[in-house]
Point group: C2
Chain length 200, copies 2
């Protein structure tokens, strides 16, 4: 089946954002990454920062914020938690975008939300720790936390968020059509592979 929509899931610091932008530009289709956050913010009334935080916050049992944003609906209350409200909104937004137009969607469980849509190409971008650390330092600079710790924390949050809202493990090949090691292949080669597969 001819593909219309691309989802990109990615490890933090793997270059998935840049690869997505390059692919979308070459294909002449819109790319939704930060733009998704804006749409979810407009839909739910939450700030972009809160949406980002709620989406990837650790499930550590002693995390007060996590319990506040994630667990309310588990306690039998009828109203959805803020995190659930955000997830429901992003599900609708992503489904509508994929229905309406050929586009590229980065992150936010797009691969899972569109799992049954046969005209989607699902991509996972990853790389080794050294390569990711280099990219993160170039893009965001140093912070108090060592870069390896920042990467490990972010990966852990994405895994927890993904498995909370899906019945899957995050980052295993079986979720995707194609998994690309951006450090080994290079960002340009990754973009070219995606473009070629998309165009059939």
């Amino acid at each position: 089946m001819k593909k219309r929509v691309i989802t990109i899931s990615r490890e933090f610091g793997s270059g998935g954002h840049s690869i997505g932008k390059a692919v979308a530009k070459t294909l002449g289709i819109p790319s939704y990454d930060q733009e998704l956050l804006e749409k979810i913010a407009a839909e739910t009334g939450f700030s972009k920062e809160f949406i980002e935080e709620a989406a990837e916050y650790s499930t550590a049992k002693n995390s007060l914020l996590f319990n506040l944003v994630m667990n309310r609906s588990l306690h039998g209350r009828m109203e959805p938690s803020p995190a659930d409200t955000i997830y429901f909104a992003q599900t609708e937004i992503i489904k509508n975008l994929a229905e309406k137009e050929s586009c590229l969607i980065v992150g936010r469980c797009g691969d899972y939300i569109l799992r049954d849509k046969g005209d989607c190409l699902h991509i996972f971008i990853y790389s080794d720790m050294e390569d990711r650390a280099k990219r993160i330092l170039e893009r965001y600079g140093e912070s108090e936390k060592p870069v390896q710790k920042r990467i490990a924390d972010k990966d852990a949050r994405r895994k927890v968020y993904y498995s909370h809202y899906t019945d899957r493990l995050w980052g295993i090949p079986q979720n995707y059509d194609l998994c690309l090691n951006s450090g080994a292949l290079g960002e340009e080669a990754c973009a070219n592979i995606i473009i070629n597969v998309f165009q059939g």
Copy 2:
């Protein structure tokens, strides 16, 4: 760095064997799959059937055969177990092949054995259960054991064997440069992607 060698790791029934053959044929390089078994048999004196069995036998605690072939070296004896002898021989054979010529190697921990060789392209081929079951029935026919059970058993053996001889988990993207879903993409597309990446 220009690539010289391709390793293909694959789920049982994913078509990795056929994809490897097609890639090697187009690139005009030798492909070592069953041929590796023959070389290991010639080197060690064990039969091809024993090598295949030893390489993928379950670590189930109550498996007598597994304990016989795998555990002798764990009990402090100086001589290597048959399984260790096979692994050491295949390591040498694979390293020598990769040193000597541009080639393609299927299975047998080739990705791990050649992990530090910068001119290798490491591929993982996988697919969903339905697609793999279809391919296995076409290739090997029915057997007493349901096909899903045959697949699950084979996957479990490969995982156990791989983690026994490496410090890695089998089948996670991070072991490879490229992971291809043969069911979603089709065998021909998988072969073309590998050929294009290999040729740079």
